[in-house]
Symmetry: C2
Subunit: 341 residues, 2 copies
């Protein structure tokens, strides 16, 4: 059968049933104190019984607010991103906002399409959770003159704010932990698409080496793509070194996942032969074999913070909209003292 889409009931319909004008219905529905209490109740009862539902489109046309925010991600299937989006949605829901989800896939044409779509939808704000925000992306969104919150990325702009993990401090902690265990040949396995985050994590790593009196060796730095695949190639280079590292600090847990598999394929044991530390503390990381030592990023919380930053800006806040969140070192079983120590 062909489905007949019944036209939804409007305030005019209710007005007819209640014997008042639609103006009164509109007021009654919003609980205006201007309307007679009994009338309000009668109208609300009718609305309920008739299954009335305000048209968000009609309302936003006049209020000039869509009560909607746009969330752009590079890849929703990335567990870090999914965690953040969960937090965003939760906070949005609490404040009666709806979220548009768009996956840019890091493809320039899609990014343009997303920006256009958000403009047409007149989103009230935007959150970008892209591990790889291109420098050209924000200007695209800026056109909208709507507040933008970047997650783990910053961009100097009137409209762009940020929620960032404290990369340098966290990486310092991670690397110090390896040094404290006695490691002297520690590698950094980065993400060549990690932009600012990669730079900062590398920098924290270098600071820790310096602090520990260890030389920085460019050979011990390799870059993957932030995913297991790329990490496998990158760690292979490291393992092929004349003096391979005894510990590797990875850009993120997904990279650690790939590194660990490759290490096993080389017949080496973790942490006996080589220690691994990740970054993110994905939900699954505690279930790995061995459980992964890593830096915890409070993903859900960071998503909430991004949403709340937007809300503060809506409410008129003008500054203090760059938040830095501390990471936390979680020591598990993928790290141990080096064999030869």
């Amino acid at each position: 059968m062909k489905i007949s889409l019944a036209k939804p009931v409007s305030i005019k319909d209710i007005a007819r049933m209640a014997g008042v004008t639609h103006s009164t219905v509109s007021r009654a529905l919003r609980n205006s104190p201007l309307v007679n209490r009994e009338t309000v109740e009668r109208i609300q009862r009718i609305a309920l019984e008739s299954g009335y539902r305000t048209s968000a489109a009609a309302r936003s046309l006049v209020t000039r607010r869509s009560d909607t925010i746009g969330v752009v991600v590079t890849n929703i299937a990335d567990p870090f991103v999914a965690g953040v989006v969960g937090g965003i949605e939760e906070a949005a829901d609490e404040h009666g906002l709806s979220v548009f989800l768009a996956n840019s896939n890091a493809e320039p044409e899609r990014e343009v399409r997303v920006a256009r779509k958000f403009e047409e939808r007149r989103v009230d704000g935007i959150i970008v959770t892209a591990s790889r925000v291109g420098a050209q992306y924000v200007p695209l969104l800026e056109h909208m003159q709507v507040p933008i919150v970047l997650l783990n990325n910053q961009h100097p702009s009137q409209f762009a704010h940020s929620v960032m993990i404290a990369n340098v401090q966290a990486s310092l902690d991670a690397t110090r932990h390896l040094i404290a265990l006695g490691h002297r040949r520690i590698a950094y396995l980065g993400d060549r698409y990690g932009y600012q985050s990669d730079t900062e994590r590398l920098s924290g790593y270098r600071q820790a080496l310096e602090e520990g009196g260890l030389p920085f060796d460019q050979q011990l730095v390799a870059h993957g793509d932030g995913k297991p695949e790329g990490a496998e190639t990158a760690i292979a280079e490291l393992l092929a070194l004349l003096q391979p590292p005894t510990a590797v600090f990875c850009y993120n847990d997904m990279s650690a996942l790939g590194a660990m598999r490759q290490i096993r394929n080389h017949g080496l044991r973790i942490p006996t032969d080589i220690s691994i530390v990740g970054f993110d503390d994905l939900y699954i990381s505690q279930y790995l074999n061995p459980p992964l030592t890593t830096i915890r990023q409070p993903m859900r919380q960071m998503g909430r913070m991004a949403m709340e930053t937007l809300l503060k800006i809506f409410a008129g806040a003008e500054s203090g909209n760059d938040i830095k969140v501390p990471g936390e070192l979680i020591v598990r079983q993928s790290t141990a003292p080096p064999k030869e120590s």
Copy 2:
């Protein structure tokens, strides 16, 4: 500084600039053949230069289509769900639709809120990806008289269609694989919130046992919550049996993850002491130690199919909207012949 939100340019503004009425602008913008070619070009140029962007709200008010779909998930942080949503978004984008994401968290009040929100937004269709669709949820959405596609769940209704993995066949394959390896004490570790999927997977498991001449033993069935935590408790029961299983077929990979950790904690080795098979083939499953034998669900593809089902219905299709997708057994290293065989 307080951000001044410039009012976006409307077709009226363009009309003024072009010296025509807004009707003509509206037509020109939609490339109507009714409008003089040169006028169309002039108007489009002005629109482009002025940064004009159609108001989706205004348009949908008259067209009665929002070009929007609502996606409800129980938990976006679940990797299976995130994969499906990725596919949905991808297909939606290709067809110029926007997606509203809502997380029900399996909380009844949130479900009610989500349904209401989708109604107000006048979504053109809904996709539900909940591992645990309550029987009461669909009626909530049905009120909207909008097509609904359920993922891995079915519901008899004029409006509800479905995309399902072929649970029985897949579970049959998974269990047969274990039987073929020589296992005779095979357990099923289910998801007590898995509803239809759990029932069907259990049923495929039982069919395989029967087919293989193995007795069904209720003791070898334990139920977790579809997550690692619940699986840990469930498998502990199984391991405590006088005659523990030599192989376990798990409801999903997340359960397998928990089971594997618990097994290790009991000092047992996988697959030497016990074989494990999962269900889903999450992205990470190939990176586990040992890599997980599992049933592949084409998550992304299933998301696309759900979206495409909606599109077909929009286009007037009236039947054939219950799709069954085959799973695929992926044999990796978490399964092997039993020790004592």
